[in-house]
């Protein structure tokens, strides 16, 4: 197995300029993700999950530490290189969907490949394939405001996978979805992980969603403090996740109560 992502000593502090209070969101965090893995990140609110994802997604820069994605040190990238790297190697799924209002669902999905100036035929066939996989074929010609939240998020997932990125980053993708839509989305992501070998790193604080992952990292105070690997049975895995959350106690209460 090869590592897609290798993170060492990642630290991020916010503020500190001109007398403001410094917040250490990440504190020397290290982790690796292998090709084809589906990794979940859990942790209480304010533990640094979003910060981690932003750093991995090159949306923000770390205070110190290294992030190496497919052999590329991210802090070496600037300007146009960064934009191109982002759209070729990374896929994003956001909690609030972030589809462009002015584009139809289909146009939203093809955007990454259009930006790459790929031939139209390739774009069409890839769109059809992913749309079928995610069950959104019939809403392709609609605008985002005309489809449900679950469909929006599946469209966002399709968009994230369009360019066959090295790593898909998902920040609370089920956070704005009802239970059924959340399950359906997670099923799709699991499928894409298994069948298309998509490498996915997902932040969530919903234990049920997390139970679709193969491995879960628990963050607390900006560090990894526990890790779980899934066996064959998802039900058992969910129970172990809930146990882990209960054991870490205190700051994790909000996690336990949201378990379904």
């Amino acid at each position: 197995m090869t590592d897609v992502l290798r993170v060492t000593g990642l630290t991020k502090t916010y503020g500190g300029r001109r007398g403001t209070v410094t917040v250490r969101a990440l504190d020397g965090l290290s982790m690796t993700v292998e090709k084809g893995e589906f990794v979940g990140i859990m942790g209480p609110s304010g533990s640094g999950k979003t910060t981690l994802l932003h750093l991995l997604g090159t949306i923000d820069r770390p205070t110190s530490g290294h992030i190496i994605l497919e052999g590329q040190e991210l802090s070496d990238l600037k300007g146009l290189d960064l934009a191109v790297f982002r759209r070729r190697r990374l896929g994003f799924i956001f909690q609030e969907f972030n589809l462009l209002d002015s584009l139809t669902i289909k146009e939203n999905i093809i955007l990454p490949l259009a930006l790459e100036k790929k031939p139209a035929s390739e774009i069409e066939s890839r769109t059809a394939e992913l749309a079928r996989e995610l069950g959104i074929l019939e809403v392709l010609s609609r605008y985002p405001y005309e489809v449900s939240g679950g469909q929006k998020q599946r469209a966002a997932a399709a968009r994230a996978l369009m360019a066959a990125p090295a790593l898909v980053l998902a920040d609370e993708p089920t956070g704005n979805l009802d239970t059924a839509a959340a399950r359906s989305l997670m099923g799709c992501l699991e499928d894409l992980n298994v069948r298309k070998e998509a490498t996915i790193l997902m932040v969530t604080h919903d234990p049920v969603s997390a139970s679709y992952c193969r491995r879960i990292l628990f963050i607390k105070d900006g560090r990894i403090h526990a890790e779980l690997r899934r066996g064959l049975d998802r039900g058992q895995f969910l129970q172990r996740i809930l146990d882990t959350i209960a054991v870490s106690g205190g700051g994790c209460r909000d996690l336990a109560t949201s378990g379904r």
């Binding site: 997604g57 949306i59 300007g79 146009l80 960064l82 934009a83 191109v84 790297f85 982002r86 759209r87 070729r88 990374l90 994003f92 956001f94 972030n98 589809l99 462009l100 209002d101 002015s102 584009l103 139809t104 146009e107 093809i110 955007l111 990454p112 490949l113 259009a114 930006l115 100036k117 790929k118 031939p119 139209a120 774009i123 069409e124 605008y143 985002p144 405001y145 005309e146 968009r159």
Partner: protein, 644 residues
């Protein structure tokens, strides 16, 4: 807390949204007021030579008001939209329709009152500065001084009170009818791209096509068209067709082009094209409105400047037409003598030019009150023509008498035996022909017309009536008619000639320097006004685009943030923004130049080269200013998008 308080709070809290609505309202008020004040300016309205132009400017005032309504209406619509969410929340916490109404009315009253006050105030200041500067720059004889434009102020106040009242009512209707869910969704509410209709496309083609044909008619125009041109209906018809055609062009042709993109994946799916085209489509309704209004404004500004540049250009020609003879003077008993005229001219250092004179018998048409004709002898008139003018000599056959009428006042009475009264009982004169001719003498000679007769016939009449009804017309050539000295001499002539003028008759002295300086003052004033107007229109259209983009940025910032997260780099975002901004800025300029030139041609009935200079010059200035405005706007748009 009263509703007035809530309104004041709202205004303070959401300063940005309110400011842009306030500023655009103020701009519209100031613009309308400045225009109205300009039209009323005494230096301008007091000038007899510019009567027709004044009427045209009065008509444009209505257009400016219509534009103000469109503009404020648009700004107000954007303003409402930007506030939907907030109003939805107020709705959810139980604001009743009546309370909503009160709040909206207070807001409108406050913003409307403020922009009326500020608009009038800044309008007055601007008008003063502007007329001062322009009076100096153009070296006008009639000083372009400041005055209190009372009518303009009243009209402005009334018009805008009405407009704000209507807007307040419309805002209330809209917000109280939209379901709360719709309000909550706010800006994300779908803007379906409009469907292109074959019928409307056809209508676009027909309206634009027919207006072009009307203006650029090859060869002689048919009678119907000539009649329309006479009545002015032609100009209005062309302008209306152009306006409707322009609107349809933006909605139909624009939609068709974008739709064509959409079905060509090889182009559409290429890079940022996808975003550019789909954003243009998504905002199509808005874009069409803005493009139409800005095109209308730019075309008006362009036409105004072009028209007045042209008027100014032809002032000299018009002066020569109006006064073919440098100085002409009717010698009255006890009045100015030819010697005195020559003395005055030489006092002002003007060399005495060629001199000619002819005798005139002043006859009243018996049956009509105050209708006079002048009888004059053929050979003397021809000597006058030959010595002083560039006109052709006249021919009158034996036993004939010809009525001369000026092309400006083409009087067409029954020919035959005229009963004239020369003070000694009725006298029949047979008038056998009528000639429309200009370039012989200034208007003064013809209260109604002049009858040129055979020398021998005239001589017989002169024997009898010369002593009581005879006058002598004198004319001098004045090569230096453009000079200040000539103008001063002419002024003195007018004053001295005034004393012996017939009570209801024309002036005793007509001179080209006076006609020239009056025309120049009128045309200069009109040019000032037009320049002023086009600066206003230019600012207004630029601000409109800016205003639209400003409201768009509020909505689009998150969209652009998403694009950046997806890996669009700054140059691609700049491309997306540039294309949209450029379309908004430059399509209207193209329309202004093409349609402005057509409108000029329609107004002047002239499609020749004489239009090239004003059209070209104005177009170049416009393009230049727009490029500056475009770069500034795009820069601040990109910055606003990136800073989020």
């Amino acid at each position: 807390m009263t509703w007035r308080h809530l309104a004041v709070r709202n205004i303070r809290h959401r300063a940005g949204t309110y400011t842009s609505f306030f500023l655009s309202s103020t701009l519209a008020v100031a613009m309308f007021f400045l225009y109205a004040a300009g039209v009323d300016h005494p230096a301008f309205s007091g000038n007899s030579g510019m009567g027709a132009v004044r009427t045209a400017l009065g008509a444009v005032e209505v257009l400016v008001a219509v534009f103000a309504i469109l503009f404020i209406g648009y700004a107000h619509g954007a303003f409402l939209k930007a506030r939907q969410r907030e109003l939805a929340v107020l709705n959810l916490i139980g604001l009743t329709p009546a309370q909503l109404g009160k709040m909206i009315h207070w807001e409108n009253a406050i913003i409307g009152g403020a922009s009326l006050a500020v608009g009038l105030g800044s309008g007055l200041t601007l008008a003063r500065l502007f007329f001062l500067a322009m009076g100096k720059a153009l070296d006008l004889d009639v000083p372009v001084s400041f005055y209190w434009p009372v009518r303009a102020m009243a009209v402005t106040a009334a018009t805008f009170t009405l407009i704000f009242g209507l807007l307040s009512w419309r805002g209330y209707r809209r917000l109280s009818r939209w379901p709360v869910a719709e309000l909550l969704r706010g800006a994300a509410r779908g803007n379906k791209p409009p469907r292109v209709s074959a019928w409307l496309a056809m209508a676009c083609f027909l309206t634009l096509g027919s207006s072009y044909v009307l203006v650029l008619w090859p060869g002689p125009r048919p009678a119907l068209l000539r009649d329309m041109m006479q009545s002015g209906a032609y100009t209005w018809a062309v302008l209306a067709l152009l306006a409707v055609g322009t609107y349809l062009f933006f909605s139909e042709a624009g939609g068709a082009v974008l739709a064509a993109f959409k079905v060509r994946p090889a182009v559409y799916y290429r890079g940022a094209n996808l975003i550019t085209v789909s954003q243009l489509l998504y905002r199509a309704r808005d874009n069409v409105k803005i493009l139409f209004m800005v095109s209308l404004l730019s075309t008006m500004a362009f036409t105004a400047v072009g028209w007045f540049t042209r008027t100014y250009q032809v002032v000299e020609k018009r002066a020569i037409e109006e006064t073919p003879v440098g100085v002409q003077m009717m010698g009255m008993p006890g009045g100015l003598s030819p010697e005195r005229v020559e003395a005055i001219l030489s006092e002002h250092g003007l060399p005495a030019g060629a001199h000619a004179q002819f005798r005139v018998l002043r006859a009243k048409i018996a049956a009509q009150a105050n209708a006079y004709v002048y009888l004059m002898p053929l050979s003397e008139v021809n000597r006058w023509i030959g010595t002083l003018t560039a006109a052709k000599e006249l021919t009158v056959g034996p036993g004939q008498a010809t009525l001369l009428v000026s092309p400006a006042y083409p009087w067409n009475p029954m020919l035959g035996a005229w009963n004239l009264d020369l003070g000694q009982g009725p006298l029949a004169v047979i008038v056998t022909g009528r000639v429309v001719t200009g370039g012989i003498f200034a208007r003064w000679l013809g209260i109604s017309g002049q009858v040129v007769m055979e020398d021998s016939v005239f001589e017989r009449l002169w024997q009898t009536y010369g002593a009581t009804r005879g006058l002598v017309a004198n004319g001098w050539d004045l090569p230096a008619w453009r000079s200040r000295a000539a103008r001063e001499a002419a002024g003195q002539l007018v004053i001295e000639g005034q004393a012996t003028r017939f009570s209801q008759g024309p002036e005793t002295v007509y001179s080209r320097p006076i006609a020239y300086s009056n025309l120049k003052a009128g045309a200069g004033m009109a040019l000032v006004l037009a320049g002023f107007l086009s600066v206003l229109f230019f600012l207004a259209s630029g601000s409109m685009i800016y205003f639209k983009l400003y409201t768009d940025v509020q909505e689009e910032r998150s969209q652009f943030q998403t694009m950046i997260k997806l890996g669009l780099d700054v140059s691609e975002i700049r491309q997306v923004v540039s294309v949209q901004t450029a379309i908004l800025f430059f399509t209207p300029v193209v329309f202004a130049v093409v349609h402005g030139t057509l409108a000029l041609a329609a107004m002047t009935g002239d499609t020749g080269r004489s239009l090239w200079l004003p059209a070209g010059l104005t177009g170049a200035v416009f393009a230049f200013l727009y490029i500056g405005y475009f770069l500034a706007t795009r820069g601040s748009y990109v910055r606003a998008v990136m800073e989020g």
